[in-house]
Amino acid sequence: MCGIAGLIHRGKSSNVGSELQGMLQALKHRGEDSTGYALYGDTDGKNFIMRFKVGENVGEGSSSIMEDVSVYDARKKIVDQYLSELGAKIVKEERVLPYSLRYELAYDAKDLLEFSQKIESIPGVEILSMGKSLEVIKDLGNAQMVCDRYSLDKVVGTHAIGHARMATESGVDIKSAHPFWGYPFSDVSVVHNGQLTNYWNNRRLLENKGMRFMSECDSELIAVYIAQKMREGASLEEGMKASLTGLDGVFTYFVATKDSLGMAKDTMAAKPLVLYESDDLVAMGSEEIAIRSVLPQEIDTYDPYDGEVKVWQI
């Protein structure tokens, strides 16, 4: 089933970590195999923030294979070495969990494709996000568990999207969890609720164009599809509109960039979405109770229609 939620504050920052945690926790009945956050925090914008994993969470119903922690250490060493070779300087390093790391990098590059390909050439290493504002945090369990594990409740920023997952077509693991980074674009992330039926056709097509897939989760296709459209010169909104015909199946998804948040709904309007929109805040989720967790007062909400694409700026 899965649940998605997102919000964007316009003209100000807020405690988006805590707000998104409340929204996703309200949707936990839609799936708590894994939960993911894409948070756009307040930063000075100088350094890249790279969230990556060197292994999987093997607890809590995971479908991943147990590995020794020493393997994680070995992978981390190679990452550090490759970063040095790429000319990226580690400004700050945090090992949140044995398999999950956060680096702040001084790195001067516009195209992250070469960078990402080199880092991810290390078996077992995946970049969860790369950007100057975006941080993707995803792990097994419900929103509260992930929030506590990664101390997300204090994160201040402008906007955020998140996902509560019930695994249906791929494994219970971090690599299949949402949000997906819009590889290789800085600060692009995607969450999705639904099923895509032309996943393999599109995947083969995009892989032939040099794009990478880290999982067999159909939702990852959206991130890669839009990233490819943007590589070809389309704007975010143009890429999202193209997806309405390019992607087959039922879907409601959100895409966020450094300064914007967008939603798209398939032409059958088969997946739910409730939307609240005001001058200073847009909040949306699979169910109204998600919005109620940040706006308990009486508000006007509505369901976007079939084939609708909307994009908001901060």
């Binding site: 032409t267 059958m268 309007a269 088969a270 739910p272 409730v274 169910e287 109204e288 109770i289 919005i291 109620r292 308990p296 009486e298 508000i299 006007d300 909400t301 509505y302 369901d303 229609y305 079939d306």
Partner: protein, 284 residues
């Protein structure tokens, strides 16, 4: 569980000796008999006094507990119940088989007022997906917007939304009336079998797709017609009925009904008789 019994009046398939049972629902098959009036018991109903009013704050309650409390209040004779702080909770007000004035001061989540038979409900907010699904009788008025599958499979009663509604409004409806003051999404009236839908605003694509029967009236633009949905002449009788219905519904009373588009089933997609598909094979 459905009640299986034989009937004197045989359907076509029964006349052919293909089966002898009919499925009977309670609402359709219960007839009042004055001789048995004292023995007539309608399960799950209470004698309530509409002038006996109370309020119920459900902010800290689960939907199940809130519904149980509504039932408990009806058993105490309360005929007017005001629900405070519904806050988008799912499945509130379901399964009420009673005459009751029920007022929600706020919005409901999914499946609100499902499977009800008799209450008059006013929701001073919006509702999520599948509001009043399977409504059998009564009146439900929503002051703001509604989500998709509004009035799915309703069999009777009036379902009124003063705002706009989502996709698949009136899907599989079998009776009753749905009235929408604003716009409606795609697949409005999808596979409807009976009843009437009135949309004063615009509708999305595939209007009335695969409808078996029933009538749809549209006041605004139509995205596209679905399979076997065709326009029909708007008669004087239709207009009189529309005016009356909109007045009773307190919605669009001054709306020019003469400009509405009437949509019915072309009846080309099916062979509508009493035979089930497997029975048709046998008959051939």
């Amino acid at each position: 569980m459905a009640n299986l019994k034989t009937t004197a009046k045989k359907t076509k398939s029964q006349s052919m000796g293909m089966h002898s049972e009919v499925l009977t629902g309670r609402t359709q098959q219960k007839f009042f008999n004055p001789d048995e009036g004292e023995n007539l018991y309608y399960f799950g109903t209470y004698d309530v006094d509409f002038n006996k009013r109370t309020e119920l704050d459900v902010k800290e309650m689960t939907a199940a507990d809130a519904n149980k409390e509504i039932d408990n209040l009806m058993s105490q004779g309360f005929g007017t119940i005001v629900i405070k702080n519904p806050q988008g909770k799912h499945s509130l007000g379901v399964g009420i088989l009673n005459k009751l004035n029920l007022i929600f001061e706020g919005s409901l989540g999914y499946f609100g007022m499902g499977s009800c038979d008799g209450p008059t409900v006013r929701i001073n907010g919006r509702v999520g997906w599948s509001c009043a699904e399977n409504l059998m009788a009564g009146k439900v008025v929503i002051e703001k917007n509604a989500g998709s599958c509004f009035g799915a499979a309703i069999r009777g009663g009036d379902l009124i939304c003063k705002g706009s509604v989502g996709a698949r409004t009136g899907i599989d409806m079998k009776g009753g009336t749905i009235i929408v003051g604003g716009d409606a999404g795609a697949f409005t009236g999808f596979m409807m079998q009976r009843g009437r839908i009135i949309i004063l605003g615009d509708v999305g694509i595939n209007l009335g797709d695969s409808m078996y029967d029933g009538t749809i009236f549209i006041g605004g633009k139509i995205g596209s017609f679905g399979s076997d949905a065709i326009p029909a002449d708007l008669t004087d009788t239709d207009q009189d009925w529309l005016k009356r219905k909109l007045k009773v519904a307190e919605i669009g009373e001054k709306f020019d009904v003469s400009k509405m588009t009437k949509i019915v089933a072309g009846k080309k997609l099916w062979n509508y008789d009493n035979l089930e598909p497997h029975e048709k094979k046998g008959a051939i």
